[in-house]
């Protein structure tokens, strides 16, 4: 059986690597990458289509290529990557709606894999220690990327109802971390002084970038439908993580955290939205037994090891800079 996979969001780091991995996979014949902008360097073995998933052009691409598997990695996490919050929201929500509409109209589509995030669970003091997939959020996310992702998941569920013949897999990832990936959280940890919320020490969970991509690949190749939490084993507390980076931290009362963050600590992709602050206050952890038992996937790195690989890569970089 020939397989044609369409990947959205290939011009960003994870999407690009995903497309390259799929291009190398012998069970996959053709990989089509889609994004609004061209990737920095061409990815070997994939056909790049510069298309905006916010308009119906995407349906044409799907139909003409006879795509059977769609991998949706086009949800953007920080406004900076999109050029503003309203563009980000449009790409995330309207883009997903367009993509799903196109999938619904394309009979050849038989599998949809969505990269979602654990942020859809929100975070707050009433959270259970670990979230399983069927739990409802106790503190629903109200803004930004977590809210977009929650909406994206709603549309994906709607799509799954309308096209029951399509195998839909949603993966809710803990925070990606590793030597190369850049997220709001990695930018947070490379600040010279790291602000934390006074009186709180959240539990954090990480997924190594290689493991995250392997989980997506696993979901694409195997036919396991459903929603799965994906995270490295174990948790780290924020204070522990900060100590491991060897940087200093300063505790800021929660009342001023966003303000101080935005004015004093503004750097890179760091996010000081209220949603981000809630996460840095209460943290979150995922139950990953479904990932192991039903999806049949086991990450190679624990949360702790994933974080260590990030710290090591960063200190190597710093040494290289000095040299």
């Amino acid at each position: 059986m020939s397989r044609t996979v369409l990947v959205t969001g290939v011009s960003r780091y994870l999407g690009g690597r995903m497309a390259a991995i799929l291009a190398d996979d012998p069970c996959i014949d053709r990989v089509i990458g889609v994004d609004v902008v061209a990737p920095d360097s061409p990815i070997d073995g994939i056909e790049f289509v510069r298309a905006d998933i916010r308009n119906p052009v995407i349906a044409k691409v799907l139909g003409e290529a006879g795509v059977d598997t769609v991998v949706h990695m086009g949800v953007i996490a920080t406004p900076k990557q999109a050029g503003g919050r309203s563009t980000m929201k449009e790409i995330n929500v309207i883009g997903t709606m367009q993509l799903l509409a196109a999938c619904q109209r394309t009979p050849s589509v038989e599998k949809l894999v969505v990269k979602s995030t654990a942020a859809v669970y929100g975070s707050g003091p009433k959270d259970p220690a670990m979230f399983t997939e069927e739990m409802e959020p106790r503190h629903s996310p109200t803004s930004g990327w977590p809210k977009d992702s929650a909406e994206v998941e709603t549309y994906v569920r709607g799509f799954a109802r309308r096209r029951p013949d399509v195998a839909v897999t949603t993966l809710r990832f803990a925070n990606f971390i590793g030597p190369k990936v850049q997220t709001a959280l990695t930018s947070y940890f490379v600040q010279p002084v790291i602000p934390t919320v006074l009186g709180f020490d959240p539990r954090l969970q990480f997924i190594h970038e290689d493991d995250g991509l392997a989980a997506l690949q696993h979901a694409i190749v195997e036919r396991r439908t459903g929603t799965f939490n994906i995270a490295g084993d174990g948790v780290l507390t924020l204070s522990q993580a900060v100590r491991r980076t060897g940087r200093s931290s300063v505790a800021v009362p929660s009342l001023f955290f966003s303000l101080v963050g935005r004015s004093v600590f503004k750097s890179g992709l760091v996010d000081y939205s209220d949603e981000a602050m809630r996460y840095l206050t209460y943290g979150r952890a995922l139950d990953t037994s479904a990932m192991r038992d039903r999806l049949g996937f086991q990450p190679a790195f624990s949360s702790e090891e994933a974080f260590t690989s990030f710290v090591r890569a960063y200190s190597d970089d710093a040494e290289a800079d000095v040299a």
Binding site: G124, P125, P128, T132, F200, R203
Partner: protein, 350 residues
């Protein structure tokens, strides 16, 4: 403390069957003494009040803890503490999924509570054989004392006196986890939110889980209601025990009622501060921080006969009748055990 005998508990000693209604009559005149009676033994560090303790924990500083430790753990060498501090500063330790930090708990948190347990409250613990050494159990206890010191003492008891050195993993209200510092320390000491998934997860992992089903109704009750069990929530703890087949250990704690005798609950201040209650005791808030020093009452903790739940089918957890009956049985057993301990105790401060 000769004047301590004045505390009118004696009548109860003779007639255990007289319910706590008698206690109600004693309210006015019972005003236990301000913290003047200094017990002979208490080390200087004993009455570290809650807030102070928390601050120490954020940055475990070995030099600061050392003096406390030396008389408690004489063999503890400086080298070990240095190594401990180095590892902590590197973040080189691990916490479990709940955020429980066993090393910090053993070395620092329990060490800080120990003087209170040993010298200040002179806790006597019985019935430890009712707690398994390596499997799950659900400890259900009465709650009292305005501040949940009773739960900390139960944790020290299980860790220090039980042959298996068990860590008591408690289930707390969400107020605990949204309060700065308190929530942080609670997680590090192994506690988590009182909710079904967490209770079942801990019990299936074979942990000893502690619940205080009276909740704020228990710790925030007036002194006149002492040793009178309040309503037991919705029995969620029983359902969790049945689902995991874990034995329930009804536990009675005597002594906590007298540490901060609450003579009045200022609802207005409580509402302003967003607290479930605001205690007025003979010493608090009149004496300021000094009023937060707990009175040195005499404590007895008894872990009662376990009630097995493994003969119920898991579906019984969804049968409200079974759950209510079992809840009542647990409640009754704790109340009886409280009366027995009260008779055994010579006096509230003896």
């Amino acid at each position: 403390m000769p004047d301590a005998d004045v505390i009118a508990f004696e009548p109860r000693d003779g007639e255990p069957t007289v319910g706590p209604s008698k206690a109600a009559r004693m309210v006015g005149n019972t005003g236990p003494k301000p913290p003047a009676p200094k017990p002979d033994v208490a080390p200087v560090v004993a009455p570290v009040e809650k807030k102070k303790r928390k601050k120490v924990l954020v940055e475990p500083d070995p030099t600061q803890d050392e003096p406390n430790e030396i008389d408690l753990i004489p063999d503890e060498d400086v080298e070990g503490w240095m190594e401990f501090a180095r590892r902590r500063l590197r973040g080189d330790y691990s916490v479990d999924d709940f955020g429980f930090d066993p090393e910090l708990t053993d070395r620092v948190l329990l060490a800080l509570a120990r003087p209170l347990y040993k010298s200040w409250f002179r806790v006597e613990t019985t019935g430890l054989e009712n707690i398994p050494s390596d499997s799950a159990a659900l400890v259900v206890a009465n709650h009292s004392g305005t501040i949940a010191v009773d739960s900390i003492m139960a944790q020290v008891a299980l860790h220090d006196e039980h042959p298996g050195h068990r860590h008591l993993r408690m289930l707390g209200a969400n107020l605990v986890f949204q309060t700065p510092f308190l929530g942080e320390v609670a997680r590090k000491a192994g506690h988590t939110l009182a909710c079904h998934p967490d209770a079942e997860r801990l019990l299936s992992d074979g942990e000893v889980v502690g619940v205080w089903p009276e909740g704020f109704k228990g710790i925030g009750k007036p002194f006149s209601q002492r040793y009178k069990l309040q309503r037991f929530g919705r029995g969620g703890f029983v359902a969790a025990a049945i689902k995991t087949g874990s034995p329930i250990v009804p536990t009675a704690i005597v002594g906590a009622e007298e540490i901060y005798p609450m003579i009045y609950n200022s609802r207005t201040i409580a509402r302003i501060l967003g607290l479930p209650y605001f205690p007025i005791t003979p010493t608090f808030p009149w004496l300021g921080p000094l009023g937060m020093v707990p009175l040195p009452s005499k404590w007895l903790i008894h872990f009662g006969d376990p009630i097995p739940t493994d003969h119920y089918p898991p579906s019984a957890a969804d049968d409200p009748m079974v759950v209510f009956e079992l809840t009542d049985q647990v409640r009754e057993q704790i109340q009886q055990s409280l009366y027995r301990l009260l008779i055994k105790r010579p006096s509230a401060f003896g």
